[in-house]
Amino acid sequence: MQVVRPAVEWELASLLREAAERAMPLEIIGGGSKRAFGRSVQAAKAVVTSALRAISLYEPSELVMSALAGTLLADVERELSGKGQMLPFEPIDLGPVLGAETGLGTIGGVFATNLSGSRRVLAGAARDHLLGVRAINGRGEAFKSGGRVMKNVTGYDLARGLAGSWGTLAVMTEVTFKVQPKPETTATLVLIGLADEIASEVMCLAMGSPYEVSGAVHLHEPVVGRLWNATLRGAGGSVTAIRLENFAKFIAYRKERLGKLLGPYGEVHAVDEATSLAFWSELRQLSALQRQSTPLWRLSVTPTSGPKIVKAIAQHMQVEAVYDWSGGLIWLGVPSAADAGASDIRRVIAHHGGHATLVRAAPAVRAAIEVFQPLEPGIDRISRGLKAAFDPAGILNPGRMHASF
C-alpha cells in the first residue's frame, strides 16, 4: 500500500482533490491505533496525518488548546499536565485491546472516533469538548467551523458533525478543544461482590448525589482477576468503583457522605490514592480486556437497562462485562463465533434500546457483519446524504463504518 504523509494543509487538499477526480479511495489514518476496529478499508493508498504535528495554541487561563490533527495524544496530555490541566473526557487508548501498541493515538483520531473514558459520565464526551476544526472534505476543499471560544453558534456545528465520523466525511487537519484543570485529589470508593443489578443501583445513586462523582464502573469477577493493580485484583469478587475528584480539602467530606449513602449496599472500602490513580489509569486502556483475541463489544445503553441486557445476552453465550458510565457503556467480552454473537446481541439491544458496536473480532468476522449498529431508515437516509455532501466521490474511508457508504 502506498502511504502519503502530507505535512501542510494545502498538500493534503490537493491530494484529496486529485483522488476525488479519479474516484480513488483512500484510507485515512492518524496513528493507526484503531485500524483493527470497524470495517477495513479497501484502498491502494493511505493518507497518514502524522506529519501534521504541533500544538498551535494553548491558553491555560482560557481553558483552550489547538493542535494539528496528527499530534500524539500523549504529547497533548504532557503539555496540558505541565500546566496542571487535562482533557476532561479522559480519552481511552483502544490500541492495546486491538493488538496495537499503547500510545499511538493522535488527537485527530480521538475526535474522529469520539473516544471518551470514564469521566465522560460527569464531564461529557470528546465531542462535547470540540470547539472548532479545520478540515479537508472529499472534494479537496479546505474549510473551518467553530472557533476557539466555548460558546459559538455562528453557523452550523460542523465540528461536532465530524466528531465520531471515523474519517468518512473529511480529514481534520486541526482541532481546537476545551481543557480543564486537573483535580487536586482523587479518591475511590469500592464495593466488592455486588450482583450487576445492585451495582447498577449503586452507580446510579452515586451519580444522582451532589458530590460530583466522576467515574462509576462495575467489573465482573473474571475481569477483576486480570487487573494489573494487585490490591484490586485480589478483591475476590466483582468490583464496583466510584470516583471522586476535587480539592483535597473537600474530598474527605464527600467521601464520608457518599460512603454513608452507599453503605446499605455493602461494605464500602476506600483505597489509597496510589491504588485509585493506578486503577483509573489502567481502565483508560481497558487493561483487563487486553491480550485476548475473543470478540469484544461496546454497548451503549440506558444505564439502568444494562444488567437486564447483559443477563439476556448471557442466556445465549458466556459473557464478561465491564460497566462504565454508570452502566451506560458496557464492554462485553464474548466467545468466538461466526458472527461474534451479533444476531443475539443486536436482538436483545433492539428490545431494550441502545446500540452495539463490535470492537474486536477477526477480520473475516468484521467483514461479514455490520460492525457499527445498523441505522434506522430515516437516519440512514440522512447519513448517506451527508456522506454525499462531504465526499461525493466516496473516496474517504469507504465502507469504514457501514458497508454501503
Binding site: G328, I379, L386
Partner: protein
C-alpha cells in the same frame, strides 16, 4: 431597524392563502390554525422587534403527528415554514415571512417522563426551559443551561439556537445537555435521534441539528440530561477600577484550577441600570463588576470563596462582598438576569452577542467604546467572562431613523472586531436574520458552501426558515460553484 433585506414574498403562494388555510384546517382542525389579522399579528415578530412580517397563517401544533401532517402538506405545496417556540429570539430566528406559515410548538408542553436513576427528563418541545427545572426540582435535580429568557423560551428554541446562559462555564450549553430528540423532517418523516443512552450510533446528527436554527426540521420531543443540584450555591461581588484588572482577575481564577459555575462581568453603565431596576446592591463607584458563583457544601463554598478572594487581591479589587443570604443571592442574580429588561426601560437598545478570547477583553472594551462613540451612541457591556461571550448593548432611539442606522453600523463593526480578535459573531443568540449578512466576515465561501450543502440534505427545497443564517446574495452561486 430596517436595513436587513428580506426576500419578496411569492405572489402565487400569497394569492392562494385561503385555500392553504382551508387545507391546514382540514389537516389539524379549525382551532389549531390562526388566520385572522389580529391573531396573526401576535406572531409577526420575535424579540428582534424592529422586523415584522405577517405570516400566511399560524399552526399551533399539539402533536408530532400534526407537525408531520403539516410539513408533508407544505413540502408538497412548496410552502415555506418558520418554526417557532416562544418567539424570544434576539436574532430574528423566528421572524415570519408573508409567504410562509408559522408552525408553533408552544402548545406541546407536557413532561413525558422523569427518570432520576438515569438522570433524564423527556419533554415535549414546547415546554419552557424553566419548567423543566421546575418539574425535576422536587427530585433534587435541575436542567443546566439557563438563558436569561428561561422563564419564557422553549426547549425547542433552545435546541434551535443551541442556547447558552450564565451557568454554562461549568455545565456547557444546550448541545452538551441533550441526549436525544424527535424531529420531523420537511417531507413529514419523523426520526428519532439519540435516546436515553449517552451516545447515538452513526454520525453525530444531534450535534449537527442542535443550533441549526430551525432549518433542518421541527423538533417535537426532547430527552435532556438532568443534574443533581449542588448542596448549595453562593455568589460574591468584586468591584474593580479597570476592565483590565477585572479581566486579569478572571484569568487568574480560571488559571488557578477553580471552575466557578458562573463568572459574570458588568461595566459601569450596566451596573447602574441593573441596580436601579433590581436593587441588587451592586457597588456604584466601580468601573467593572464581577459576579462569581460557586457551589458545594457550606464549608466548600466558604473555602472556595476564600480562595478566590485571595487570588483576586493582587488585582486590587475595591469591593469584595460575599452574599450573606439567599435573598441577597437572588437579588444579585436578578440584577444580572434582568439586564436586558432594565436597559430596555431607559432606552431602546441593540443587543450584540459576540464572543472574544478572554485575554482580549480590555482592548475590545476600549474599542467598542470608541466605535459607539464615533457613531454618537452609548453602550453598556455585559459579559459571560468565564466563556468569552460578550453582550454589548448599544443604546439608541428607535424613532430616530438616523440613530437606528448608526446603531446597526456600530453593531456590525463591533461583531467584526470580535471576529478579528479570534472570537465569533454569535455566542448564544444565533445568526437569524440579524447576523446573516455578516457571515462572510467569519466564513469563506467554501466554509459557507459546506454548511449550505448540509441544509440541502435535510431540506432539499430550502423551505424551512429559508431567509436566515446565510447571506441571501450569492446563495445560488455558492451552491453551484461547490
Amino acid at each position: 431597524m430596517s436595513s436587513i433585506a428580506l426576500p419578496e414574498p411569492d405572489p402565487t403562494i400569497c394569492a392562494n392563502r385561503n385555500a392553504i388555510v382551508a387545507a391546514l384546517r382540514s389537516l389539524v382542525g379549525e382551532a389549531a390554525v390562526i388566520a385572522d389579522d389580529d391573531g396573526r399579528r401576535a406572531f409577526e415578530t420575535d424579540a428582534l422587534t424592529a422586523y415584522r412580517r405577517m405570516p400566511l397563517a399560524v399552526v399551533l401544533a399539539t402533536s408530532t403527528a400534526d407537525v408531520a401532517k403539516v410539513l408533508r402538506y407544505c413540502s408538497g405545496a412548496g410552502i415555506k415554514v418558520v418554526a417557532r417556540g416562544a418567539g424570544t429570539s434576539l436574532s430574528g430566528g423566528a421572524l415570519p415571512a408573508e409567504d410562509a406559515i408559522v408552525l408553533a410548538v408552544a402548545k406541546m408542553s407536557r413532561v413525558l417522563e422523569i427518570d432520576t436513576a438515569n438522570r433524564t427528563a423527556t419533554v415535549e418541545a414546547g415546554i419552557t426551559n424553566l419548567a423543566i427545572t421546575g418539574a425535576v426540582a422536587p427530585h433534587g435535580f435541575f436542567y443546566a443551561p439557563d438563558p436569561s429568557s428561561q422563564l419564557a423560551c422553549t426547549i425547542a428554541g433552545n435546541l434551535g439556537m443551541n442556547s447558552g446562559g450564565a451557568h454554562c462555564l461549568k455545565y456547557g450549553v444546550t448541545v452538551n445537555n441533550v441526549l436525544g430528540f424527535k424531529i420531523v423532517l420537511m417531507d413529514g418523516e419523523i426520526i428519532e435521534v439519540g435516546g436515553k443512552h449517552l451516545d447515538a450510533p452513526g454520525y453525530d446528527l444531534a450535534g449537527l441539528i442542535i443550533g441549526s436554527e430551525g432549518q433542518f426540521g421541527i423538533i417535537t420531543e426532547v430527552t435532556v440530561r438532568i443534574l443533581r443540584a449542588a448542596e448549595g450555591a453562593r455568589p460574591m461581588l468584586m468591584g474593580f477600577n479597570s476592565s483590565k484588572a477585572a479581566g486579569a482577575c478572571v484569568s487568574a481564577i480560571i488559571g488557578s484550577g477553580i471552575i466557578p459555575v458562573a463568572i459574570e462581568y458588568m461595566d459601569k453603565p450596566a451596573i447602574h441600570v441593573c441596580d436601579a431596576f433590581a436593587k441588587a446592591g451592586y457597588p456604584m463607584d466601580v468601573e467593572a463588576l464581577l459576579i462569581v458563583e460557586v457551589e458545594g457544601s457550606e464549608a466548600e463554598i466558604s473555602a472556595l470563596l476564600e480562595r478566590i478572594t485571595a487570588i483576586a487581591r493582587p488585582f486590587g479589587p475595591t469591593v469584595i462582598r460575599v452574599s450573606a443570604s439567599e435573598e441577597e443571592s437572588a437579588r444579585i442574580w436578578k440584577g444580572r438576569k434582568s439586564a436586558f429588561g432594565a436597559i430596555g426601560r431607559i432606552s431602546d437598545y441593540y443587543c450584540m452577542d459576540g464572543t472574544i478570547p478572554l485575554g482580549r477583553l480590555p482592548e475590545v472594551l476600549v474599542k467598542i467604546g470608541e466605535i459607539c462613540g464615533r457613531h454618537g451612541l452609548k453602550v453598556a457591556n455585559i459579559f459571560h467572562a468565564g466563556d468569552g461571550n460578550l453582550h454589548p448593548l448599544i443604546l439608541y432611539e428607535a424613532n430616530d431613523a438616523e440613530q437606528v442606522r448608526r446603531a446597526e453600523l456600530a453593531g456590525a463593526e463591533v461583531l467584526t472586531l470580535c471576529v478579528e480578535v479570534g472570537g465569533c459573531l454569535t455566542g448564544e443568540h444565533g445568526v437569524g436574520i440579524e447576523k446573516r449578512d455578516l457571515m462572510r466576515v467569519q466564513f469563506s465561501d467554501t466554509d459557507l458552501a459546506v454548511q449550505m450543502r448540509i441544509k440541502t440534505v435535510f431540506d432539499p427545497a430550502w423551505l424551512l426558515n429559508p431567509a436566515k443564517v446565510f447571506p441571501l446574495e450569492g446563495r445560488e452561486a455558492v451552491l453551484q460553484a461547490a
